[in-house]
Amino acid sequence: MSKTTNQKAWIFVIPVVVLVAFNALIPLMTVVNYSVQETFGNNVFFWEGVKWFEEVLNSSRFHASFLRQLAFTGTILLIEIPLGIAVALSMPKKGPWVSVCLVMMALPLLIPWNVVGAMWNIFALPDIGLLGRMINGLGINYNFTQQPAAAWITTIVMDVWHWTSLVVLLSYAGLCAIPDAYYQAAKIDGASAWAVFWRIQLPKMKRVLTIAILLRFMDSFMIYTEPFVLTGGGPGNTTTFLSIDLVKIALGQFDLGPAAAMSLIYFFVVLLLCWVFYTLMMRDEEQ
Protein backbone atom coordinates (compact mmCIF):
# COMPACT_ATOMS: atom_id res chain seq x y z
CA MET A 1 0.00 0.00 0.00
CA SER A 2 1.25 3.46 -0.76
CA LYS A 3 2.02 5.38 2.39
CA THR A 4 1.96 9.13 2.53
CA THR A 5 4.80 11.01 4.16
CA ASN A 6 3.59 12.91 7.17
CA GLN A 7 5.83 13.90 10.05
CA LYS A 8 2.83 14.62 12.23
CA ALA A 9 2.36 10.88 12.52
CA TRP A 10 4.96 11.09 15.30
CA ILE A 11 2.20 12.29 17.60
CA PHE A 12 0.54 8.91 17.36
CA VAL A 13 3.74 7.18 18.20
CA ILE A 14 4.95 9.25 21.14
CA PRO A 15 3.00 7.48 23.93
CA VAL A 16 4.46 4.18 22.81
CA VAL A 17 7.98 5.54 22.68
CA VAL A 18 7.71 7.12 26.11
CA LEU A 19 6.37 4.03 27.85
CA VAL A 20 8.83 1.66 26.23
CA ALA A 21 11.87 3.88 26.47
CA PHE A 22 11.23 4.58 30.14
CA ASN A 23 11.60 0.88 30.81
CA ALA A 24 14.34 0.26 28.32
CA LEU A 25 16.92 2.97 28.50
CA ILE A 26 17.84 3.24 32.14
CA PRO A 27 18.17 -0.44 32.89
CA LEU A 28 20.05 -0.86 29.62
CA MET A 29 22.50 1.85 30.55
CA THR A 30 23.01 0.20 33.93
CA VAL A 31 23.80 -3.11 32.35
CA VAL A 32 26.18 -1.55 29.87
CA ASN A 33 27.80 0.08 32.82
CA TYR A 34 28.32 -3.21 34.60
CA SER A 35 29.63 -4.88 31.49
CA VAL A 36 32.65 -2.65 31.29
CA GLN A 37 33.55 -2.62 34.96
CA GLU A 38 34.93 -4.94 37.58
CA THR A 39 33.85 -5.09 41.16
CA PHE A 40 35.25 -6.80 44.12
CA GLY A 41 32.30 -5.88 46.26
CA ASN A 42 31.60 -2.91 48.47
CA ASN A 43 30.22 -1.02 45.44
CA VAL A 44 33.67 -0.21 44.25
CA PHE A 45 34.08 -0.40 40.48
CA PHE A 46 37.10 -0.50 38.26
CA TRP A 47 37.02 0.20 34.58
CA GLU A 48 37.80 -2.92 32.61
CA GLY A 49 36.90 -1.97 29.07
CA VAL A 50 36.32 -4.87 26.80
CA LYS A 51 37.90 -7.46 29.08
CA TRP A 52 34.61 -9.16 29.91
CA PHE A 53 33.51 -9.25 26.31
CA GLU A 54 36.77 -10.87 25.27
CA GLU A 55 36.58 -13.36 28.08
CA VAL A 56 33.07 -14.41 27.23
CA LEU A 57 33.61 -14.58 23.49
CA ASN A 58 36.69 -16.72 23.93
CA SER A 59 35.29 -19.09 26.50
CA SER A 60 34.65 -22.58 25.28
CA ARG A 61 31.86 -22.89 27.78
CA PHE A 62 30.11 -20.03 26.03
CA HIS A 63 30.66 -21.61 22.63
CA ALA A 64 29.23 -24.88 23.83
CA SER A 65 26.03 -23.40 25.24
CA PHE A 66 25.71 -21.17 22.20
CA LEU A 67 25.82 -24.15 19.86
CA ARG A 68 23.38 -26.08 21.99
CA GLN A 69 21.10 -23.09 21.87
CA LEU A 70 21.30 -22.85 18.10
CA ALA A 71 20.49 -26.52 17.75
CA PHE A 72 17.54 -26.22 20.06
CA THR A 73 16.09 -23.11 18.46
CA GLY A 74 16.62 -24.46 14.95
CA THR A 75 14.85 -27.69 15.76
CA ILE A 76 11.81 -26.18 17.40
CA LEU A 77 11.37 -23.62 14.62
CA LEU A 78 11.44 -26.38 12.04
CA ILE A 79 8.75 -28.25 13.93
CA GLU A 80 6.52 -25.54 15.34
CA ILE A 81 6.10 -23.27 12.34
CA PRO A 82 4.91 -25.83 9.78
CA LEU A 83 2.88 -27.67 12.39
CA GLY A 84 1.23 -24.47 13.55
CA ILE A 85 0.34 -23.42 10.02
CA ALA A 86 -1.00 -26.89 9.21
CA VAL A 87 -3.24 -26.94 12.29
CA ALA A 88 -4.50 -23.43 11.56
CA LEU A 89 -5.35 -24.40 7.99
CA SER A 90 -7.36 -27.38 9.11
CA MET A 91 -9.35 -25.61 11.80
CA PRO A 92 -12.98 -24.70 11.05
CA LYS A 93 -13.74 -21.06 10.40
CA LYS A 94 -17.33 -21.10 11.53
CA GLY A 95 -19.54 -23.10 13.78
CA PRO A 96 -19.56 -24.25 17.40
CA TRP A 97 -16.23 -26.06 17.22
CA VAL A 98 -14.34 -22.84 16.68
CA SER A 99 -14.71 -21.79 20.30
CA VAL A 100 -13.80 -25.22 21.57
CA CYS A 101 -10.68 -25.35 19.41
CA LEU A 102 -9.51 -21.85 20.25
CA VAL A 103 -9.95 -22.24 24.00
CA MET A 104 -8.33 -25.65 24.21
CA MET A 105 -5.40 -24.62 22.08
CA ALA A 106 -4.80 -21.55 24.19
CA LEU A 107 -4.54 -23.45 27.47
CA PRO A 108 -0.88 -24.50 27.34
CA LEU A 109 0.14 -20.90 26.71
CA LEU A 110 -1.46 -19.73 29.92
CA ILE A 111 0.35 -21.97 32.35
CA PRO A 112 3.18 -20.23 34.21
CA TRP A 113 6.45 -21.48 32.88
CA ASN A 114 7.69 -22.98 36.13
CA VAL A 115 4.53 -25.05 36.38
CA VAL A 116 5.05 -26.18 32.79
CA GLY A 117 8.51 -27.39 33.70
CA ALA A 118 7.33 -29.03 36.90
CA MET A 119 4.38 -30.83 35.35
CA TRP A 120 6.45 -32.19 32.47
CA ASN A 121 9.07 -33.23 34.97
CA ILE A 122 6.59 -35.49 36.74
CA PHE A 123 4.79 -36.39 33.52
CA ALA A 124 7.96 -37.76 31.98
CA LEU A 125 9.39 -39.58 34.97
CA PRO A 126 9.75 -43.24 34.17
CA ASP A 127 8.21 -44.50 37.40
CA ILE A 128 5.42 -42.13 38.37
CA GLY A 129 4.71 -40.20 35.18
CA LEU A 130 2.16 -41.07 32.52
CA LEU A 131 4.46 -40.38 29.61
CA GLY A 132 7.43 -42.09 31.18
CA ARG A 133 5.41 -45.18 31.96
CA MET A 134 3.86 -45.28 28.48
CA ILE A 135 7.19 -45.08 26.66
CA ASN A 136 8.90 -47.58 28.89
CA GLY A 137 5.83 -49.76 28.59
CA LEU A 138 6.41 -49.86 24.83
CA GLY A 139 9.76 -51.43 25.49
CA ILE A 140 11.90 -48.33 24.93
CA ASN A 141 14.35 -47.63 27.71
CA TYR A 142 13.60 -44.03 28.52
CA ASN A 143 14.88 -41.91 31.37
CA PHE A 144 15.34 -38.23 30.69
CA THR A 145 17.19 -37.58 33.92
CA GLN A 146 20.03 -39.76 32.83
CA GLN A 147 20.03 -39.97 29.05
CA PRO A 148 21.10 -36.87 27.11
CA ALA A 149 19.11 -37.84 24.03
CA ALA A 150 15.98 -38.44 26.08
CA ALA A 151 16.50 -35.12 27.86
CA TRP A 152 16.76 -33.29 24.54
CA ILE A 153 13.73 -34.96 23.06
CA THR A 154 11.65 -34.36 26.16
CA THR A 155 12.63 -30.70 26.24
CA ILE A 156 11.78 -30.29 22.60
CA VAL A 157 8.44 -32.05 22.91
CA MET A 158 7.64 -29.91 25.95
CA ASP A 159 8.39 -26.76 23.99
CA VAL A 160 6.32 -27.91 21.03
CA TRP A 161 3.48 -28.68 23.42
CA HIS A 162 3.81 -25.34 25.13
CA TRP A 163 4.29 -22.94 22.24
CA THR A 164 2.96 -24.30 18.96
CA SER A 165 -0.44 -22.85 19.81
CA LEU A 166 1.06 -19.38 19.51
CA VAL A 167 1.81 -20.08 15.87
CA VAL A 168 -1.62 -21.64 15.45
CA LEU A 169 -3.48 -18.68 16.92
CA LEU A 170 -1.57 -16.10 14.94
CA SER A 171 -1.87 -18.06 11.70
CA TYR A 172 -5.54 -18.71 12.28
CA ALA A 173 -6.31 -15.06 12.87
CA GLY A 174 -4.34 -14.19 9.75
CA LEU A 175 -6.25 -16.78 7.75
CA CYS A 176 -9.62 -15.57 8.97
CA ALA A 177 -8.69 -12.10 7.84
CA ILE A 178 -8.61 -13.20 4.22
CA PRO A 179 -11.86 -12.08 2.60
CA ASP A 180 -14.05 -14.75 1.03
CA ALA A 181 -13.85 -13.04 -2.32
CA TYR A 182 -10.29 -14.35 -2.79
CA TYR A 183 -11.44 -17.93 -2.42
CA GLN A 184 -14.37 -17.28 -4.70
CA ALA A 185 -12.15 -15.74 -7.34
CA ALA A 186 -9.80 -18.70 -7.06
CA LYS A 187 -12.70 -21.06 -7.70
CA ILE A 188 -13.70 -19.09 -10.75
CA ASP A 189 -10.12 -19.08 -11.98
CA GLY A 190 -9.94 -22.84 -11.57
CA ALA A 191 -7.06 -22.76 -9.07
CA SER A 192 -5.90 -25.97 -7.39
CA ALA A 193 -5.83 -26.31 -3.59
CA TRP A 194 -2.05 -25.96 -3.64
CA ALA A 195 -2.29 -22.76 -5.72
CA VAL A 196 -4.78 -21.36 -3.23
CA PHE A 197 -2.36 -22.07 -0.39
CA TRP A 198 0.76 -20.85 -2.15
CA ARG A 199 -0.66 -17.81 -3.94
CA ILE A 200 -3.39 -16.58 -1.64
CA GLN A 201 -3.18 -17.92 1.88
CA LEU A 202 0.55 -17.89 2.50
CA PRO A 203 1.20 -14.41 1.02
CA LYS A 204 -1.72 -12.97 2.96
CA MET A 205 -0.35 -14.52 6.13
CA LYS A 206 3.13 -13.17 5.63
CA ARG A 207 2.96 -10.47 8.24
CA VAL A 208 1.48 -12.62 10.99
CA LEU A 209 3.91 -15.39 10.18
CA THR A 210 6.81 -12.98 10.47
CA ILE A 211 5.60 -12.06 13.93
CA ALA A 212 5.15 -15.70 14.86
CA ILE A 213 8.61 -16.70 13.64
CA LEU A 214 10.33 -13.75 15.28
CA LEU A 215 8.53 -14.37 18.55
CA ARG A 216 9.35 -18.05 18.59
CA PHE A 217 12.92 -17.34 17.66
CA MET A 218 13.42 -14.78 20.40
CA ASP A 219 11.58 -16.64 23.11
CA SER A 220 13.25 -19.95 22.40
CA PHE A 221 16.67 -18.34 22.16
CA MET A 222 16.19 -16.89 25.62
CA ILE A 223 14.43 -19.88 27.10
CA TYR A 224 15.18 -20.42 30.75
CA THR A 225 12.50 -21.51 33.18
CA GLU A 226 10.95 -24.51 31.49
CA PRO A 227 14.11 -26.45 30.65
CA PHE A 228 15.68 -25.44 33.95
CA VAL A 229 12.80 -26.85 35.97
CA LEU A 230 12.56 -29.89 33.73
CA THR A 231 16.16 -30.99 33.55
CA GLY A 232 18.16 -28.44 35.51
CA GLY A 233 20.38 -28.17 32.47
CA GLY A 234 21.35 -31.80 32.67
CA PRO A 235 22.14 -34.57 32.65
CA GLY A 236 25.50 -32.89 33.22
CA ASN A 237 25.27 -29.86 31.01
CA THR A 238 23.76 -31.46 27.93
CA THR A 239 20.66 -29.29 28.03
CA THR A 240 22.31 -26.20 29.44
CA PHE A 241 21.12 -23.59 26.99
CA LEU A 242 22.47 -20.10 26.78
CA SER A 243 20.19 -18.47 29.32
CA ILE A 244 20.69 -21.18 31.87
CA ASP A 245 24.40 -20.72 31.60
CA LEU A 246 24.01 -16.96 31.87
CA VAL A 247 22.00 -17.20 35.06
CA LYS A 248 24.48 -19.63 36.54
CA ILE A 249 27.22 -17.12 35.96
CA ALA A 250 25.25 -14.08 37.07
CA LEU A 251 23.59 -15.38 40.17
CA GLY A 252 25.60 -18.40 40.98
CA GLN A 253 29.00 -16.88 40.87
CA PHE A 254 27.79 -13.31 41.27
CA ASP A 255 30.10 -12.15 38.51
CA LEU A 256 28.16 -9.14 37.38
CA GLY A 257 30.74 -8.05 34.87
CA PRO A 258 30.87 -11.19 32.73
CA ALA A 259 27.12 -11.69 33.17
CA ALA A 260 26.35 -8.21 31.89
CA ALA A 261 28.77 -8.63 29.02
CA MET A 262 27.22 -11.95 28.14
CA SER A 263 23.76 -10.38 28.21
CA LEU A 264 24.86 -7.74 25.75
CA ILE A 265 26.49 -10.24 23.42
CA TYR A 266 23.33 -12.31 23.66
CA PHE A 267 21.32 -9.25 22.79
CA PHE A 268 23.43 -8.43 19.75
CA VAL A 269 23.24 -11.95 18.41
CA VAL A 270 19.46 -12.02 18.67
CA LEU A 271 19.28 -8.53 17.24
CA LEU A 272 21.41 -9.41 14.24
CA LEU A 273 19.53 -12.59 13.40
CA CYS A 274 16.15 -10.90 13.80
CA TRP A 275 17.21 -7.97 11.69
CA VAL A 276 18.41 -10.20 8.89
CA PHE A 277 15.22 -12.22 8.96
CA TYR A 278 12.99 -9.18 9.14
CA THR A 279 14.72 -7.47 6.26
CA LEU A 280 14.39 -10.58 4.12
CA MET A 281 10.70 -10.95 4.85
CA MET A 282 9.88 -7.31 4.25
CA ARG A 283 12.17 -6.51 1.38
CA ASP A 284 9.42 -6.57 -1.21
CA GLU A 285 7.06 -4.33 0.71
CA GLU A 286 8.42 -0.93 -0.21
CA GLN A 287 8.31 -0.12 -3.87
Binding site: M1, N6, V16, V87, M91, P108, A118, D127, Y172, L246
Partner: protein
Amino acid sequence: MPNYMNFKKWLLPTIYILFLMLPIYWLLNMSFKTTNEILGTFSLYPQNFTWANYEKIFTDPTWYNGYLNSITYVVMNTVISLLVALPAAYAFSRYRFLGDKHLFFWLLTNRMAPPAVFALPFFQLYSAVELFDTHIAVALAHCLFNIPLAVWILEGFMSGVPKELDETAFLDGYSFPRFFVRIFIPTIVAGIGVAAFFTFMYSWVELLLAKTLTSVAAKPIAATMTRTASTAGYELGLLAAAGTLTIVPGAFVIYFVRNYIAKGFAMGRV
Protein backbone atom coordinates in the same frame (compact mmCIF):
# COMPACT_ATOMS: atom_id res chain seq x y z
CA MET B 1 -18.31 -32.09 0.05
CA PRO B 2 -17.86 -35.86 0.39
CA ASN B 3 -17.58 -37.06 3.93
CA TYR B 4 -14.13 -38.57 3.81
CA MET B 5 -12.58 -35.24 2.96
CA ASN B 6 -14.08 -33.68 6.04
CA PHE B 7 -12.71 -36.48 8.16
CA LYS B 8 -9.15 -35.99 6.97
CA LYS B 9 -9.34 -32.31 7.72
CA TRP B 10 -10.58 -32.98 11.22
CA LEU B 11 -7.88 -35.48 11.99
CA LEU B 12 -5.05 -33.02 12.51
CA PRO B 13 -6.72 -30.59 14.91
CA THR B 14 -8.21 -33.49 16.84
CA ILE B 15 -4.88 -35.24 17.32
CA TYR B 16 -3.26 -31.92 18.16
CA ILE B 17 -5.84 -31.11 20.81
CA LEU B 18 -5.55 -34.58 22.33
CA PHE B 19 -1.79 -34.07 22.48
CA LEU B 20 -2.35 -30.78 24.30
CA MET B 21 -4.87 -32.17 26.71
CA LEU B 22 -2.87 -35.13 27.92
CA PRO B 23 -0.41 -33.25 30.14
CA ILE B 24 -3.20 -30.93 31.29
CA TYR B 25 -5.22 -33.90 32.35
CA TRP B 26 -2.12 -35.05 34.20
CA LEU B 27 -1.87 -31.67 35.88
CA LEU B 28 -5.50 -31.89 36.92
CA ASN B 29 -4.89 -35.38 38.17
CA MET B 30 -2.00 -34.20 40.34
CA SER B 31 -4.02 -31.33 41.73
CA PHE B 32 -6.39 -33.72 43.43
CA LYS B 33 -3.64 -35.78 45.00
CA THR B 34 -1.39 -35.15 47.95
CA THR B 35 2.27 -34.60 47.25
CA ASN B 36 3.09 -37.92 48.83
CA GLU B 37 0.76 -39.75 46.53
CA ILE B 38 2.15 -37.97 43.48
CA LEU B 39 5.70 -38.91 44.30
CA GLY B 40 4.94 -42.28 45.71
CA THR B 41 2.61 -44.03 43.26
CA PHE B 42 1.57 -43.99 39.67
CA SER B 43 -2.17 -43.79 39.08
CA LEU B 44 -4.35 -42.45 36.32
CA TYR B 45 -6.80 -41.02 38.77
CA PRO B 46 -6.36 -40.04 42.42
CA GLN B 47 -6.48 -43.00 44.78
CA ASN B 48 -7.11 -40.72 47.71
CA PHE B 49 -9.03 -37.91 46.13
CA THR B 50 -8.54 -34.68 48.03
CA TRP B 51 -9.79 -31.14 47.77
CA ALA B 52 -7.13 -30.00 50.22
CA ASN B 53 -4.96 -28.28 47.63
CA TYR B 54 -7.82 -26.21 46.28
CA GLU B 55 -9.10 -25.50 49.75
CA LYS B 56 -5.77 -24.06 50.72
CA ILE B 57 -5.75 -21.76 47.74
CA PHE B 58 -9.24 -20.48 48.27
CA THR B 59 -8.84 -19.92 51.98
CA ASP B 60 -5.30 -18.68 52.36
CA PRO B 61 -5.10 -14.95 51.60
CA THR B 62 -1.54 -15.19 50.35
CA TRP B 63 -2.79 -17.46 47.64
CA TYR B 64 -5.99 -15.88 46.48
CA ASN B 65 -4.57 -12.40 46.77
CA GLY B 66 -1.87 -13.58 44.49
CA TYR B 67 -4.50 -14.26 41.84
CA LEU B 68 -6.25 -10.98 42.41
CA ASN B 69 -2.99 -9.06 42.22
CA SER B 70 -1.97 -10.79 39.04
CA ILE B 71 -5.33 -10.21 37.40
CA THR B 72 -5.20 -6.56 38.41
CA TYR B 73 -1.88 -5.65 36.91
CA VAL B 74 -2.34 -7.85 33.87
CA VAL B 75 -5.63 -6.20 32.99
CA MET B 76 -4.10 -2.78 33.58
CA ASN B 77 -1.22 -3.66 31.31
CA THR B 78 -3.43 -5.05 28.57
CA VAL B 79 -5.60 -1.95 28.52
CA ILE B 80 -2.65 0.45 28.52
CA SER B 81 -0.79 -1.50 25.88
CA LEU B 82 -3.73 -1.70 23.51
CA LEU B 83 -4.70 1.94 23.98
CA VAL B 84 -1.29 3.31 23.07
CA ALA B 85 -0.53 0.66 20.49
CA LEU B 86 -3.61 1.32 18.34
CA PRO B 87 -2.72 4.85 17.19
CA ALA B 88 0.95 3.97 16.87
CA ALA B 89 0.20 0.94 14.72
CA TYR B 90 -2.05 3.10 12.56
CA ALA B 91 0.77 5.58 12.07
CA PHE B 92 3.23 2.84 11.10
CA SER B 93 0.73 1.31 8.77
CA ARG B 94 -0.40 4.41 6.90
CA TYR B 95 2.40 6.95 7.07
CA ARG B 96 6.06 7.37 6.31
CA PHE B 97 7.94 9.55 8.75
CA LEU B 98 11.44 10.22 9.91
CA GLY B 99 12.96 7.10 11.40
CA ASP B 100 9.81 5.04 11.06
CA LYS B 101 11.41 1.78 9.95
CA HIS B 102 14.11 1.99 12.59
CA LEU B 103 11.65 2.90 15.29
CA PHE B 104 9.46 -0.04 14.38
CA PHE B 105 12.34 -2.43 14.60
CA TRP B 106 13.68 -0.83 17.78
CA LEU B 107 10.37 -1.65 19.47
CA LEU B 108 10.93 -5.31 18.94
CA THR B 109 14.51 -5.18 20.20
CA ASN B 110 13.12 -4.71 23.68
CA ARG B 111 12.21 -8.37 23.70
CA MET B 112 15.63 -9.54 22.70
CA ALA B 113 17.58 -9.66 25.92
CA PRO B 114 17.19 -12.24 28.63
CA PRO B 115 15.77 -10.50 31.67
CA ALA B 116 17.95 -11.97 34.41
CA VAL B 117 20.59 -9.29 34.52
CA PHE B 118 18.06 -6.50 34.16
CA ALA B 119 16.16 -7.38 37.29
CA LEU B 120 18.29 -5.33 39.65
CA PRO B 121 18.29 -2.15 37.54
CA PHE B 122 14.51 -2.43 37.22
CA PHE B 123 14.22 -2.68 40.96
CA GLN B 124 16.34 0.42 41.36
CA LEU B 125 14.37 2.35 38.75
CA TYR B 126 10.94 1.68 40.16
CA SER B 127 12.09 2.23 43.72
CA ALA B 128 13.47 5.58 42.66
CA VAL B 129 10.05 6.68 41.34
CA GLU B 130 8.44 5.29 44.48
CA LEU B 131 6.33 2.75 42.71
CA PHE B 132 7.79 -0.31 44.34
CA ASP B 133 5.24 -2.93 45.33
CA THR B 134 2.34 -1.44 43.38
CA HIS B 135 0.23 -2.96 40.64
CA ILE B 136 0.90 -0.08 38.33
CA ALA B 137 4.62 -0.71 38.61
CA VAL B 138 4.32 -4.19 37.18
CA ALA B 139 1.76 -3.01 34.63
CA LEU B 140 4.16 -0.32 33.45
CA ALA B 141 7.20 -2.56 33.51
CA HIS B 142 5.46 -5.12 31.35
CA CYS B 143 4.86 -2.41 28.79
CA LEU B 144 8.47 -2.92 27.83
CA PHE B 145 7.75 -6.11 25.97
CA ASN B 146 4.00 -6.00 25.51
CA ILE B 147 3.61 -2.68 23.76
CA PRO B 148 6.03 -3.67 20.97
CA LEU B 149 4.15 -6.93 20.57
CA ALA B 150 0.78 -5.18 20.41
CA VAL B 151 2.08 -2.64 17.91
CA TRP B 152 3.54 -5.34 15.68
CA ILE B 153 0.43 -7.49 15.71
CA LEU B 154 -1.94 -4.57 15.15
CA GLU B 155 0.21 -3.17 12.37
CA GLY B 156 0.18 -6.55 10.67
CA PHE B 157 -3.60 -6.59 10.59
CA MET B 158 -3.98 -2.94 9.71
CA SER B 159 -1.81 -3.40 6.67
CA GLY B 160 -4.38 -5.80 5.34
CA VAL B 161 -6.99 -3.05 5.23
CA PRO B 162 -6.66 -1.04 2.03
CA LYS B 163 -6.00 2.65 2.43
CA GLU B 164 -8.93 3.31 0.10
CA LEU B 165 -11.22 2.60 3.02
CA ASP B 166 -9.80 5.54 4.95
CA GLU B 167 -9.95 7.82 1.95
CA THR B 168 -13.52 6.90 1.13
CA ALA B 169 -14.55 7.65 4.70
CA PHE B 170 -12.83 11.03 4.73
CA LEU B 171 -14.48 11.89 1.44
CA ASP B 172 -17.79 10.93 2.97
CA GLY B 173 -17.18 13.49 5.65
CA TYR B 174 -16.05 11.42 8.60
CA SER B 175 -13.83 13.12 11.14
CA PHE B 176 -10.74 11.16 12.05
CA PRO B 177 -11.85 9.97 15.53
CA ARG B 178 -15.25 8.95 14.19
CA PHE B 179 -13.69 7.11 11.29
CA PHE B 180 -11.26 5.33 13.57
CA VAL B 181 -13.85 4.15 16.04
CA ARG B 182 -16.79 3.40 13.77
CA ILE B 183 -15.20 2.18 10.59
CA PHE B 184 -11.58 1.23 11.11
CA ILE B 185 -11.70 -0.66 14.39
CA PRO B 186 -14.49 -3.01 13.26
CA THR B 187 -12.39 -4.10 10.30
CA ILE B 188 -9.41 -5.05 12.45
CA VAL B 189 -11.17 -6.73 15.36
CA ALA B 190 -9.31 -9.96 14.62
CA GLY B 191 -6.02 -8.19 15.23
CA ILE B 192 -7.30 -6.57 18.40
CA GLY B 193 -8.52 -9.92 19.67
CA VAL B 194 -5.16 -11.55 19.01
CA ALA B 195 -3.19 -8.63 20.43
CA ALA B 196 -5.36 -8.56 23.55
CA PHE B 197 -4.93 -12.25 24.15
CA PHE B 198 -1.16 -12.29 23.69
CA THR B 199 -0.65 -9.15 25.75
CA PHE B 200 -2.65 -10.74 28.52
CA MET B 201 -0.80 -14.00 28.23
CA TYR B 202 2.74 -12.66 28.26
CA SER B 203 2.03 -10.40 31.20
CA TRP B 204 0.23 -13.15 33.06
CA VAL B 205 3.12 -15.59 32.88
CA GLU B 206 5.96 -13.15 33.40
CA LEU B 207 7.75 -14.08 36.58
CA LEU B 208 10.99 -12.22 37.07
CA LEU B 209 9.95 -8.59 36.85
CA ALA B 210 6.70 -9.26 38.66
CA LYS B 211 8.59 -10.80 41.55
CA THR B 212 11.31 -8.17 41.58
CA LEU B 213 9.01 -5.19 41.66
CA THR B 214 6.65 -6.44 44.35
CA SER B 215 6.87 -7.73 47.86
CA VAL B 216 3.55 -7.96 49.66
CA ALA B 217 0.86 -5.61 48.48
CA ALA B 218 0.98 -6.52 44.82
CA LYS B 219 2.57 -9.93 44.99
CA PRO B 220 1.57 -11.96 41.96
CA ILE B 221 0.47 -15.55 41.90
CA ALA B 222 3.56 -16.61 40.01
CA ALA B 223 5.70 -15.46 42.93
CA THR B 224 3.59 -17.33 45.46
CA MET B 225 4.01 -20.45 43.39
CA THR B 226 7.76 -20.29 43.27
CA ARG B 227 7.76 -19.89 46.99
CA THR B 228 5.95 -23.18 47.15
CA ALA B 229 8.67 -24.75 45.12
CA SER B 230 11.54 -23.59 47.26
CA THR B 231 10.85 -22.87 50.92
CA ALA B 232 8.28 -25.48 51.84
CA GLY B 233 9.94 -28.09 49.73
CA TYR B 234 8.23 -29.18 46.55
CA GLU B 235 4.54 -29.08 47.38
CA LEU B 236 3.57 -30.60 44.12
CA GLY B 237 -0.13 -31.09 44.80
CA LEU B 238 -0.55 -27.46 45.73
CA LEU B 239 1.51 -26.33 42.77
CA ALA B 240 -0.62 -28.42 40.45
CA ALA B 241 -3.83 -26.96 41.84
CA ALA B 242 -2.45 -23.45 41.60
CA GLY B 243 -1.29 -24.15 38.07
CA THR B 244 -4.71 -25.41 37.07
CA LEU B 245 -6.36 -22.33 38.47
CA THR B 246 -4.02 -20.01 36.60
CA ILE B 247 -5.43 -21.34 33.38
CA VAL B 248 -8.90 -20.05 34.19
CA PRO B 249 -8.57 -16.26 33.71
CA GLY B 250 -6.73 -16.70 30.42
CA ALA B 251 -9.35 -19.16 29.26
CA PHE B 252 -11.95 -16.47 29.86
CA VAL B 253 -9.96 -14.00 27.83
CA ILE B 254 -9.63 -16.24 24.83
CA TYR B 255 -13.26 -17.21 25.07
CA PHE B 256 -14.17 -13.56 25.17
CA VAL B 257 -12.15 -12.68 22.08
CA ARG B 258 -12.84 -15.86 20.12
CA ASN B 259 -15.46 -14.27 17.91
CA TYR B 260 -13.21 -11.36 17.12
CA ILE B 261 -10.39 -13.64 16.09
CA ALA B 262 -12.55 -15.79 13.87
CA LYS B 263 -14.48 -12.90 12.45
CA GLY B 264 -11.76 -11.81 10.14
CA PHE B 265 -12.02 -9.01 7.73
CA ALA B 266 -15.41 -8.05 6.48
CA MET B 267 -15.14 -5.15 4.09
CA GLY B 268 -18.12 -3.16 5.22
CA ARG B 269 -20.91 -3.40 2.70
CA VAL B 270 -21.57 0.12 1.67
